[in-house]
Symmetry: C2
Subunit: 190 residues, 2 copies
DNA sequence: GTCTATAACTCGATAGAC
DNA sequence: GTCTATCGAGTTATAGAC
């Protein structure tokens, strides 16, 4: 049992607070007192506010990569992977969803510290799902299906966070899964 | 030719500036000088900063509703509607996309002034596409297909804004369209 | 590593003349 | 409607003792 470095403890707490209250409207003062430290310690451990944000994104990216690796270490079937991927996203939607889209909007505006998030959310996820789909269809088709599967997950998550209709979200994901399944089956029969 | 009210001119310019630079890191000072007015005028015409943001969202919502009404006044076919909807989204992606997701994240955090955006982006769009799909399939299925079609549009837009790969985005949208088409055809034959 | 104190600055909002 | 000037609160960041 190695005791975790204080920096990492603070970082985890900061992610939790940002997830609940948003990044924009959280000052270092508010964050510090809310997670039981001082503004001075945030500067000491992370540097500037933007450096802290970079650290937050870095750990979010690392978590996403770890989850992705874990998923495909256990699962080969792209449909099962898609199902688990969506389940995990929906389960953490309430807590992490808004932060996810908020940080993504930083990446869209070209903030350098957020570039890694854009990369893992699209390229890295697409690559992983492409490999899985390549076991059941040709590689060009696998690329498209990978993108589509992830787009549905992200789009449905987006809707879920705006209207809270979980059954409708599940139904949309299931509908896509079934359509892709029959499409691949009919292609294999052909 | 009625000369437009100065308030509306300022509002349009504000939307443009926010779209390019983001809402978060734009102060009233910066916004005012950038669009050729003074901080005083922003307060005079809109009230507080949050009131201005509410006005921005209000006009974005109005534009979305107008575009939706225009679309379904011209088109009944859900596939053609989906195609045009995606084309319009992709065309304005570079300019309006980041603002769209940024304002949506405000709605996700429960900001009251942003509630209307969440409603129009999900419920209102789903309702319009549901009606279109109801002309080619049963109403329960139409609801699911409407949500799925919109989710793909939003998810693919999300990816496009993060990696800029327009051909890949188009391919994913086309793939879904074709899958839905064959699904409905096979159901009608059955 | 942690604390208190404060510097230096920017923010939203307002005052009041014109 | 538009201007300049400014208030008071809040912000990031730093200083320096312990």
């Amino acid at each position: 049992m190695s005791s975790p470095r204080p920096r990492d403890v603070l970082l985890a707490k900061a992610v939790g607070y940002y997830a609940e209250h948003g990044v924009r409207d959280t000052s270092l003062r508010t964050l510090a007192t809310s997670i039981g430290t001082s503004q001075r310690m945030l500067h000491y451990h992370f540097g500037s506010r933007e450096d802290l944000l970079a650290a937050v994104i870095e750990i979010v990216v690392a978590d996403q990569i770890a989850a992705l690796d874990r998923l495909f270490a256990e699962v080969d079937d792209p449909f099962e992977a898609g199902r688990r991927n969506w389940e995990a996203a929906a389960a953490s939607a309430q807590t992490f969803g808004p932060l996810f889209f908020e940080l993504a909007s930083h990446a869209m505006h070209g903030r350098p510290y957020a570039a890694g998030l854009g990369e893992v959310v699209v390229a890295r996820h697409v690559a992983a799902f492409r490999r899985a789909f390549a076991t059941v269809t040709d590689s060009g088709h696998a690329e498209v299906l990978a993108r589509l599967t992830l787009a549905v997950g992200q789009g449905v998550l987006f809707q879920l966070l705006l209207d809270g209709d979980r059954p409708a979200a599940d139904a949309a994901v299931d509908e896509l899964t079934e359509m892709v399944r029959t499409r691949i089956e009919s292609a294999n029969v052909r």
